[in-house]
Symmetry: C2
């Protein structure tokens, strides 16, 4: 049965949005909707414009035999800024302050709408880069890693403080914990990450960067390369210059003490480090 | 600027898909796209049919002053069956068998495409039910909870074996661990779940149901109600009849021992327990 343009537009929009960074040949849609390739081509032209105008990202047509349609999710500068303001407003609640200069974040990290914003922001920063896996530290980084992994269409791996019976053989490194003055251990299941992977690390909270240094060493044990680190909240800049240089934060909090009556939340360096050019609407 | 129908269809499809279970007034779209309400109404009619034909779920128009458009994600029986077969094929790899009768699942639970299937399956089972929160046990249940929470548009909460400095005050219960013969403790941050919540529990692996009994007690401590439990893999039926009655499994594995050369994977009781009627295409 031939499918009408209006219905095709809905179906192709859905199909592409669910498959970021996957090349789909035009002939696939032509067969699926029993339509001429030229009609599908016109559909894609409409979808390209609508995606850009709705700030969903970029739809490209790659020519040639191995070509097809490719959807790269990404938001423009204005949308990114408004997402960061939303996150900042959520974070600024002084009830979040916990003993020891920690922040209660579990509500934000258990809210699918908030996680989508975080995922879209981080995926925009690394859009188009070659990344093989997202890495995070259990537990609260997991939903962030999941959301970023979804938009970048790569798997995510979970580093743990202690390995479990369900992980099989692991590789481990020691690191100076951000949350204690002790040297701790972090482990990753050997089979969860291929040797030589290009890894993007994400986490919820950074306080000194010890965890990141540990992840850097862990990635080296897997003969891979850490290509970047982005955290939701930075409470204390990394001590180490290399870590500092490669770390992006969405938000910053300063002077976090238990006696604080307010949280000083400011923007992190995310907007400076992200190139939005390809995701801007061109009118 | 007035937006053309073709572009509106793309934009509204995206808007609704990103907002499951959220009532959107037609006037919102009319203003957003500077179009007559009658045109938007026609758009929605096209989108309804296309969503159902593409097995995305149901789009409904609720009449009246407080009305609008509502998207309920859900898949039909055939799609559900094909997703289960995909998961079954992934699971059947004998290399997954770990010492002690455990299964390596981290690759599946770190793959966004696999997690989407799991999320859509479970969200279809509970479509339209009043659920206030998804609950899971750290660590491997988290991506499943996140995916289900996304499709049902509710928050998820994470139960831990030991509380962290970043959780604030907790409530805890003891439970008979599935993975050891000991009585263990599970804790949940007090502020993460409102009193009286209706809770859906999800997890990756069930072996006897001790964890589920624990979650049941924990939900009672929050004066809430556990309305269902769905797990990806059931390795051993719950010992307790009540737990057994309320537990749904996507897949089952039998006779899991370290010496096994094959994994006996079969379908769980998911298909029997799920009503797909409203998500079936009507031609």
């Amino acid at each position: 049965m031939k499918v009408r343009r209006s219905e095709r537009l809905v179906a192709i929009t859905h199909y592409l949005e669910q498959r970021p960074y996957q090349l789909v040949p035009l002939t696939f849609f032509a067969q699926k909707y029993n339509s001429a390739k030229s009609s599908i081509s016109e559909d894609i032209t409409i979808i390209k414009r609508a995606f850009l105008n709705s700030h969903l990202g970029v739809v490209e047509t790659l020519p040639g035999a191995g070509g097809g349609v490719l959807f790269t999710p990404g938001i423009d500068h204005q949308t990114a800024e408004s997402y960061l303001f939303d996150l900042k407003a959520l974070l600024a609640d002084p009830k979040r302050i916990l003993p020891g200069g920690y922040l209660y974040l579990s509500d934000m990290l258990g809210n699918p709408a908030t996680l989508k914003k975080i995922g879209q922001l981080i995926a925009t920063q690394y859009a188009g880069q070659k990344i093989d896996a997202i890495m995070t530290m259990a537990t609260k980084g997991i939903p962030i890693a999941h959301s970023v992994a979804y938009y970048l269409n790569v798997p995510f791996v979970i580093v743990r403080r202690e390995s479990k019976v369900t992980e099989g053989p692991t590789l481990s490194v020691n690191y100076a914990s951000d949350s204690s003055n002790y040297v701790e251990k972090m482990e990753l299941s050997k089979r969860s990450l291929s040797l030589g992977s290009r890894v993007l690390a994400v986490d919820d909270f950074m306080k000194g960067g010890g965890t990141v240094s540990g992840m850097q060493n862990l990635v080296q044990e897997f003969e891979g390369q850490l290509i970047g680190v982005t955290v939701l909240v930075e409470a204390k800049s990394p001590n180490d210059d290399l870590t500092k240089k490669m770390t992006t934060s969405l938000l910053n909090v300063q002077d976090l003490t238990t006696s604080s009556q307010v949280i000083n939340v400011s923007m992190g360096n995310y907007l400076q480090r992200t190139d939005f050019a390809r995701f801007e609407t061109k009118d």
